[in-house]
């Protein structure tokens, strides 16, 4: 089954072999930015998860960063 790897250090995702890579905000808070007000942070999270779903729907032949 396809896997979307959401992580903040793209080169590390690549070296461990992930095929669908979604760059995230930062290591301690990959899917949110505490500096933002709550609604904006959830909007950012939604955007990242949306990108993950897009990656999971796409056919990729090699390691791809979305």
């Amino acid at each position: 089954m396809p896997v979307a790897h959401m992580a903040s250090i793209v080169p590390i995702s690549k070296s461990v072999g992930a095929n669908r890579i979604i760059p995230t905000v930062a290591i301690p808070h990959p899917l949110g930015n505490p500096a933002l007000p709550r609604e904006e942070e959830v909007a950012v999270r939604r955007q990242l998860v949306e990108k993950a779903l897009m990656a999971l729907s796409a056919d990729v032949s090699d390691q791809t960063v979305f």
Binding site: M1, P2, M6, P30, G32, L56
Partner: protein
Amino acid sequence: MAYRIIHYINQFFGGVGGEDKADHPPELRAGAAGPGLALKQAWGDQAEIAATVVCGDNYCVGHPEEVAGFIGQALDKYQAQALVAGPAFNAGRYGLACGLAASAAAARGRVSLTAMFPENPGVEIYKANTFILPTADSARGMGQAVPAMAAFAIKLLNGRRLGSAAEEGYIERGVRLNTFHDEIGAERAVNMLMKKIKGQYFLTEYKMPAFDRVRPRPGVKDMSRATIALVTSGGIVPKGNPDHIPASSARSYGAYSLEGVDDLTGEDFQTAHGGYDQTFANEDPDRVLPVDVLRCMEREGRIGRLFPTYFATVGNGTAVAHAAQWGGEIGQKLREAEVQAVILTST
């Protein structure tokens, strides 16, 4: 003069009972028992089983120091030169118990050996401390396991210098030992370079750790009817970390329910990961595991269903071999549950 060996087996092979007796405390019996009888026969007059330690798997895994001490006393009492444990085949806890018993003997300067199926979790955890021979995944493999263990134990006791794992048939332990070659390093380097230039086969003296590649799977056709599962190495676990997953060098992963959970809150969930500043994840675990957004998408029909169980471990300093093994196990479980795709988040 025959070598004196202590044999470690669990409650099942010791005839005490099955799963129900897994809490059986360690007992010492003179002479051989269970598979020990076959070992004794294989050794003939070269070695004898001075005594057998029989211990329930749960007890051993639950009381490591106590069992290790018990084994130490048994080794001293019988002046034994070696401990042989198992074979454990693919029994997980028995494999861990054999690894622990063998490590206890090795730590006390005795020759130590056990045998189990290469995929057994005991291999990764204890291979640095003791020799482990590969066996079949079930007791059907007893026929090959016993003679191999007997011969290898004698080889260790005779103190002969061992060749590589491939030559001698043990599981590579990943332990570096010094040796003296025939040629100096500089000559070996230039010879290796000449082979590399000519495209000939050469054997590097040190293998750099590397990751394998996986062929990308086709995309999900209809996301609105797909079941998506969440997996994370970011260490998000229910409050209190019920499975006690350590902050680094994790030895296990957890499967936790999302039934009736619409949003991960700091009250019910936390991070166990020791590799980053935990305040942000503890404040709102959704920042690592996006349950809140996926629940919305589920309600809006953007996705079919969020799989009710998520898998989590701590990716901080975890052995690559462990992670690869868990990946396989989790993938297997998700396939059986007909999950179509996975979102894996990392910190």
